[in-house]
Symmetry: D2
C-alpha cells in the first residue's frame, strides 16, 4: 500500500541535542515516569478535523494547505484517503488515538438517512484500518454547527425539526462511536447559545438542552455504550454566547437537570482562557467536583480574542495540565486530544508532523516536571500546611459542620490577634521554575 | 439642624428642556408608567461606601474629593455626620433607600466586640434619623475584604480563626440589618477566591463557603430575619479569581450546597461585563432560574479591564435592565442600588448630586422605553412566534418530554427540507431604537 | 430589465411611528440639518464584499444566505448580476456610493494579466450601470489577503515576487478606481504584519511597506488620480499583529516615511475597539492631526474579541461619529461606508435591506443630535472654558513656547494653592443624553 | 550600624538543586555568558516605590505589609530608614541599581520649595550611602500623578498653573538625578491623557506635552545632564487613555515634535500587554527604530485587565526580553528595573527577597537561553534565509528603492507561479523549547 505521507518517517526519539525537525527531543513512550510509562500517561489523540480537513483558512483567507489528496474530487474516495492518512500519520507519530465529528469523516447527504449511509461506509473502512494500524478512537461526536439548519442551535433551536434532526444525528454518532470502541462521546455546543437576547427565550432553550442530554444518556444505556459522556465548555465563538460557557456554569446546568453523574467535562485550554479562566482553574474545578474527563490539548494567544487553537508548546502550560491530571489519578478513559491546527502559513505536510512533535515533546517535559513536583511534594507540602488549621480545634468543627454563627462569634469576639501566614506566591513560582 | 449639603437643593423635576444641572429632566416619581408610578418601579438606593466614603482615589492617586466633613477628626463624630449626610442627600434626591457595609458606617475596633459596639452606636443613630427622613435600608452587608486578616479570604480563608471571625461579623451584620428593617442582606465575596492556584485547596475552600452560607441561612431563620439573602457575582478584582464569578457559576454552587431556595442574586452591570457577559445575560439567566433579586446599578467601560463603577448613564443599558425587571414582575424586595462612584476628577459635592441625577434620569427613560416595548410586545411577539413550533406536534412532545432519540430519528430520517427563519437581529435593534 | 431584488421596494421615509420594516423612520435625505441636507451630510456607501459576497459564514459554519443569484454558476455572469444587484439595492436604499476590492467584483485568473482582463470587463459594465443608476464609487482598493501568495503579507512579504505582484495589483486597482471616478483609494493591510516574531524581520518589512506606499503616491500622481489616499487601521485579525494597528501608530509610520501629507485614514469602529480605543478617540486623534479621511461605519461587540462588523445601530456611537465629523467640517471626499455584515442567522434579502435601514436611521439620529450639540455648544462651551487659562498670562506664554523650566519654576516655587476645576464627566454624560 | 533587614542574609549562589528560599539557583554574576559576565549583562534595579513604599494595598484593601519601619512616625526619619533599607537590600541581593520618583523618597511639602528642601536632604543622605554601599541610580523621575493637582494631567493639564508646577518639579528631579549620577531620566505620563473626551481638547494637550518635553531636553543640556531621557509607554490605568500608549504611538509623537533623537523608551512588560502587544513586539519595534532604552522588568496576568506588576518569573518572557536586548547590543545606560510588587498576601520581608531572587533567577536563565539561541543562530539563520530574496534581483531593486509600480507590474504580469515558503511557527516554537 502506497504511503500517503512518504516524506514523513516514523518519528524517532533522538534526545534534546538532536537538530532533526522530525524527531522527538523529549517524548519517549517507553520511559518510566512514576509508576507508568510516558506512553501510558500521555494518551495523545489526533483531531481529524484540524489535521485532515484543516486548510489554513481564516475569515480573510482561503486554503493554503498543500496536501497529498489535493487532486481527488470524489467525496467518498477523498474521505477514505484522508482516513487512511490519519491512521498512517498517527502511527508514524506514535499517537494512539484519534477523534472525529461525524460530518468530518464522511460527506453529508440530502437526508439524514443518506448521511448515515455515507458514514457507515467510512466506519466500515475504519474497522478495516483497525486491522493494519494501532490507532483507536478516543471519542466521537456529532457536528451540529456547520450547516444552515443549525444556525440558531441544535438542541436549543427554536425549531423542533432541528431539535429532532440533531437528536437523530447524535443517535447515529453514538452508535458509530460504540461500533468503533470509542472510549468517550463528546458534546460541544458551538451553536447552543444565542446571537442576541432580543430574539431568545433562554428558559425554553435550556430546558430543551437538558432534555436532549437526558435522552442521550438514556440512549447510551439502551445501546450499551459504556464510554464516558463528556461536555466541552466554550463561552463564545461562533455564537455570541454559548450556554456551556465554562466548567462552573456547566456544573450548575448538570445539577439542575440531574445529569451530574452522567457527564464529565472535556476541557480545552483555549476555551478556558476565552472564558477568562486559566486552564488550571478549569481543570482544578472539574477535578474537585469529580467531573474531569478529558483534555483538548492546545493553547491560545491571550492577547487575541478568538480561538486560535495553537499547538501546545508552552511548557508551563503542559506542566500545569499534567500536574492536575496526576492529582486526578490520570484521565481514565480520557486523553490529550490535539485540538490544534497549524498556523495558516505552516502549510506543508512537514509542518503537520512538526507541530504534533512540538506538542508531544512539550507534554513529555510537562509530565516529567509535574511528576517530580508531585513526588517531591514541592507544592502540596505547603498547601497542606496552609490549611492545617482545619485538622483540629475550631477548624475541625468547621469542617465537620459542628458549629454555628453563635459558637464562632463566641470564639472570636474578644480575639485581637487573628494571624495569617504569607501566601508566598513569588517563592512558589520560583519553585516551579526549578522543575521546568 | 444645619444642612450638611447646603449647596444641594431638593432636586425638582423640570423636564427635558431644563438646563439646570440640579434638576431632573426625566425622573418624576409620581408619573404613571404602566400600573405603577415611576417611584414604585424605581426603588433607587444610594451606596454609602462610594458616596460618603469615596474619595476619588485610585491605585496611582490619593483623595481628590472635597467634602463638608473634611476637617472632622473624631471617628464616631465623622461617622454620624456622614450618616446624616446620606439621609439628607437621599432625601433631597428622592432616593428611597440606602445600602451599607458594617465597616463603612462605623469605625473598626481592636476586637469584634469593639467593632460591634461602634456599630451599635451608629445603628441607634440611624434609627433616630428614621424619625426625620424617609430613607430606609435596602440591604446591609459585612465588609470582609479590607483588613489584612481577610487577605486570603473570609469564609474561604485557609485559617479557621478568620473563618470564625467572618462568621461572627456576618452574624452581627445580619442582626443590625434586621434591626434597621433592611429588606435584603447581601454577600459579596471579594476575597472568596484565590491569587494563585499554586497555594490553594479549592475543594476545602468551596466546601467551607457552602457551610458558611448554610449557617447564615440558619441564623437568619433563628433571628427571624425575613429579608431576602443575596449573593453578588464578580469574577475577579480584587482577587485573581472569585468563586462567585457569575450567575451561572453561582447557580452551580447553590445547588451543590442546597442553597438554591435560600439565595437570590444581586447583579451588577460592571461585574457582568468583567465576566464577559452582558448585563442582560446575567439578568435573564437569573430571571429564568428564579433567582433575580436585586440590581447594582452602574456601568463599566468595556475597553477597560477593571471595575470602573461608573454611574449608569447609557439609556440602552437602563432600558435593558428595566425590561428584564418588568418581565420579572419587578424586583420585589430588591432595588436599584447605585454602586457607582464619581470619577476622580468629579470631586465636588455638586458632582455627587449630578451623578445620581444622571443615573436616575437614565433609568426613568429606560423604564419608559421598556414599559412601552413590553406593552406593545415589540420584541415578545417575535420571540413567541419564533418558538411557536413547540406549542404542538413534535415540538409539544419535546416540551412534554414524551419522545426519544429513536422517535425523533424516525421523524427526521428522510426529511430533506428542514427550515428555519431569520433571526432578524438588525431589524430588532432598529425596533429598540424607536423606543430609545 | 428584471429587478434582482423584487421584494425590496424603494425605501420610503415614513417617520418614527411607522411599523414598516422596509421604511426609514428617521433618515430623510432632503431634511435640512444645519446648512446642509441630511443627504449631503451622510455620504453613505455600501460595501460590495459584505452585501453582495457575504454568505453568513464563520469559522464554524458554511453559507446561510439565500440570494437571487444562488443558481448562477458562470463566474463572469455572476459578477455582473451581483454588480447590478448592488446598483439596484443602493438606489432603492438611497445610498449614493459603493466601495469594492478588485477581487470582490471580478473573478481572479491564473495570472495578474488574466485578473486584470476580468476586472476590466466588470469595470466596463459598471460604467454602463452609471448610465442607469445614480450610485458612484466612494473608494476602490486591492484585495491583498485572500490568496495563499499573501499568507505572509503583500508589501511586507519576505518574498520579493509577492511584493511585486502586490505592486502590480495595486497599480491596476488605482487605475480602475480612477476610471470609475472613485473619490478615494484605500489601503488595508490585513496581512501586513506577522503571525510570530520568531520568523520576522520587522525592520525590512516596515521599510518595504513605506516604499510600497511611496510608489503608490508616485503612481497616483503619474496617472493623475486626485482622489484621497487612505490607510485603514486595524490591530489584529487576521494576522496576530498588523503594522497599521491604530491611528497613533500609523501617524508614526507616515512621518517616518514622509507620507504624512499624502495619506489620510479610513477609520472603522470595530477596528478602533479591537485596538483598545473608542471610535471617538481614533476620530479625534486623526482630526487633530489633520488626517481624518473617511469612516467605515459599523460597530463591534466589545465583549467579543474579533471583528464582528455589525451594522451600526447604537445611537451613542453614531452621535459620537457625526460630532467628530461635524467638528472636522465634514469628511470632504470621504464617506460613511457600511463595512458591516448581517448576522449569520439574518439570511434573507429583507435582512440586507433592514440592516442598512437600521444603520441609516441610526446615523440620521446621530447627525441630528450632533448638530444640535454643536450648535448649542453643549459640550464645547465647557471645553473652551476649561482650557481658558491658556489664553493669557503664563498659559499664553506656554502656548506660544515663550517660557522655560526655570521661568516656570520661579512662577510656582512658592505657590501653595494650585487649583483645578471638576471634570464634570457625569454631568456631561447627562447633557449628551438630552440630545439622544 | 544596625541592619534593617536582619533576617535577610547576603544572598549566595547555591545552584539549581538548592532548596534554600534565600539563595540564587541560577543567577551568578561572575559567570561568563558570551563576552560578558552575567552581572554585566543583567543591570538589575530595584524600584523604590514598590519595594520600600508598597504596602500590599489594592482598591478593596488596606496595607498588609509588615516592615521594620512600621512604628516610625517622623516622615524624614522614615524616609532615611527606608532609603538605607533599600541600599542594604540591594546590596544583599547583588542588585547594582535603584530607581525612584522624587515624592517616593522624601515627603511632600506645602510648596514646591518645601518639597525640594525635603528632597535635597534625602539626596544628601543618598550620597552618604554611596560611600558605604555599591548601589547606584539607574534613573530618577518626577511623580506627577498622586496629588489632586494632577488629576487632569501634568504637562497636559487644562490648567497652566499645573503645567508650570510640573515643569518646576521635573526641573528639580532632573537636577537631583544628575547630582546622583543617574544614568537615565524617565517620563511616565500616568495622567497625561483623559478620562472622557467629552471635556478634552486633545490638540492643546498634545502640543503642550510636546513643548514640555522639548523644555526638558533643553534643560538637560543646560545643566549638562548627559544621561538618556526615556519615555515609558502605558495605554490606560490610571486614566482611561494615556497619550504615551505604546511604542508605535510614541514614535509618532516624538517625530511630530522633533524629539526622536532626544528620547528612547523605557518598556514594561505589563504595559505592553495592556496595550494588546507582546513585550517582544514593543522591544523589537523600539529596537528597529533605534529607541530601545531600558526595561521595566515585570509580568502581568493576561487574563486580568489591570497592571498587576508581578515579579517576572516566566522564563519564556525573560528569554524573549534578553534575546531582544542581545540583538540590541545591550541596553547601554539602560537596565532591568524590577517595577514589580509582591502580591498582597506576600506580606513579609522574606517575600520581598524571595520575589527579587525569583526574578533574577528567571532572568539568568533567560539570558543563557537567549545567548545560546543567538550564538547558534537558532532563529536568525531561518529569518535570514526567509528574506534572502531581497539580497539580489528584483528584491535588491526593491530594497534599493530603484523600481516602480510599472516595473514591478511588468515583472509579474504573466507569472503564474508565485511561491512562498512555510513560516514554520510550530517548529520554531519547539526550537525555542530546546533552549528553555
Amino acid at each position: 500500500m502506497k504511503e500517503i505521507f512518504p516524506t514523513i518517517p516514523s518519528i524517532p526519539h533522538e534526545g534534546p541535542d538532536s537538530k532533526n525537525p522530525l524527531a522527538f527531543k523529549y517524548f519517549d513512550p517507553n520511559k518510566n515516569v512514576g509508576d507508568k510509562s510516558m506512553g501510558e500517561h500521555l494518551r495523545f489523540s489526533m483531531a481529524y478535523w484540524h489535521t485532515m480537513n484543516g486548510g489554513g483558512t481564516d475569515p480573510f483567507g482561503t486554503v493554503t494547505a498543500v496536501r497529498p489528496w489535493d487532486g481527488v474530487r470524489d467525496p467518498m474516495e477523498l474521505a477514505r484517503i484522508k482516513m487512511r492518512g490519519l491512521f498512517e500519520l498517527t502511527t508514524k507519530l506514535q499517537i494512539p488515538f484519534f477523534c472525529f465529528h461525524d460530518r468530518d469523516v464522511a460527506p453529508a447527504g440530502d437526508t439524514l438517512r443518506e448521511c448515515n449511509r455515507n458514514l457507515d461506509e467510512i466506519v466500515s473502512y475504519v474497522k478495516e484500518l483497525y486491522q493494519d494500524y494501532p490507532t483507536r478512537l478516543l471519542w466521537g461526536t456529532a457536528q451540529l454547527f456547520w450547516f444552515p439548519k443549525f444556525m440558531h442551535g441544535a438542541g436549543t433551536s427554536p425549531y423542533p425539526d432541528v431539535f429532532a434532526y440533531a437528536a437523530g444525528q447524535v443517535k447515529k454518532a453514538m452508535e458509530v462511536t460504540k461500533e468503533l470502541d470509542g472510549e468517550n462521546y463528546v458534546f460541544w455546543g458551538g451553536r447552543e447559545g444565542y446571537e442576541t437576547l432580543l430574539n431568545t427565550d433562554m428558559g425554553i432553550e435550556l430546558d430543551n438542552l437538558g432534555y436532549f442530554l437526558r435522552m442521550a444518556v438514556d440512549y447510551a444505556k439502551e445501546i450499551g455504550f459504556t464510554g464516558q459522556l463528556l461536555i466541552e465548555p466554550k463561552p463564545k465563538e461562533p455564537t455570541k454566547h454559548q450556554y456551556d460557557a465554562d466548567a462552573g456554569s456547566i456544573w450548575g446546568f448538570l445539577q439542575e437537570y440531574n445529569l451530574e453523574k452522567a457527564f464529565k467535562l472535556n476541557i480545552e485550554t483555549n476555551h478556558a482562557t476565552l472564558a477568562g479562566h486559566t486552564m488550571q482553574h478549569e481543570l482544578q474545578f472539574a477535578r474537585t467536583k469529580g467531573i474531569l474527563g478529558s483534555v483538548d490539548a492546545n493553547q491560545g494567544d491571550e492577547l487575541l480574542g478568538w480561538d486560535t487553537d495553537q499547538f501546545p508548546t508552552n511548557i508551563y502550560g503542559t506542566t500545569a495540565i499534567m500536574y492536575q491530571i496526576l492529582l486526578n489519578g490520570g484521565l481514565h478513559t480520557g486523553g490529550l486530544n490535539f485540538d490544534a491546527k497549524v498556523r495558516r502559513p505552516s502549510f506543508t505536510v512537514e509542518d503537520l508532523a512538526a507541530a504534533h512533535i512540538a506538542g508531544m515533546d512539550a507534554f513529555a517535559r510537562g509530565l516529567e516536571a509535574a511528576q517530580a513536583m508531585k513526588k517531591e511534594r514541592a507544592l502540596s507540602a505547603f498547601v497542606d500546611e496552609r490549611y492545617a488549621g482545619y485538622n483540629d480545634g475550631i477548624g475541625r468543627k468547621i469542617r465537620d459542620k459542628q458549629t454555628s454563627f453563635a459558637d464562632l462569634e463566641a470564639y472570636v469576639i474578644d480575639k485581637s490577634d487573628i494571624q495569617v501566614g504569607s501566601g508566598k506566591q513569588e517563592y512558589l513560582e520560583s519553585v516551579v521554575n526549578t522543575y521546568i
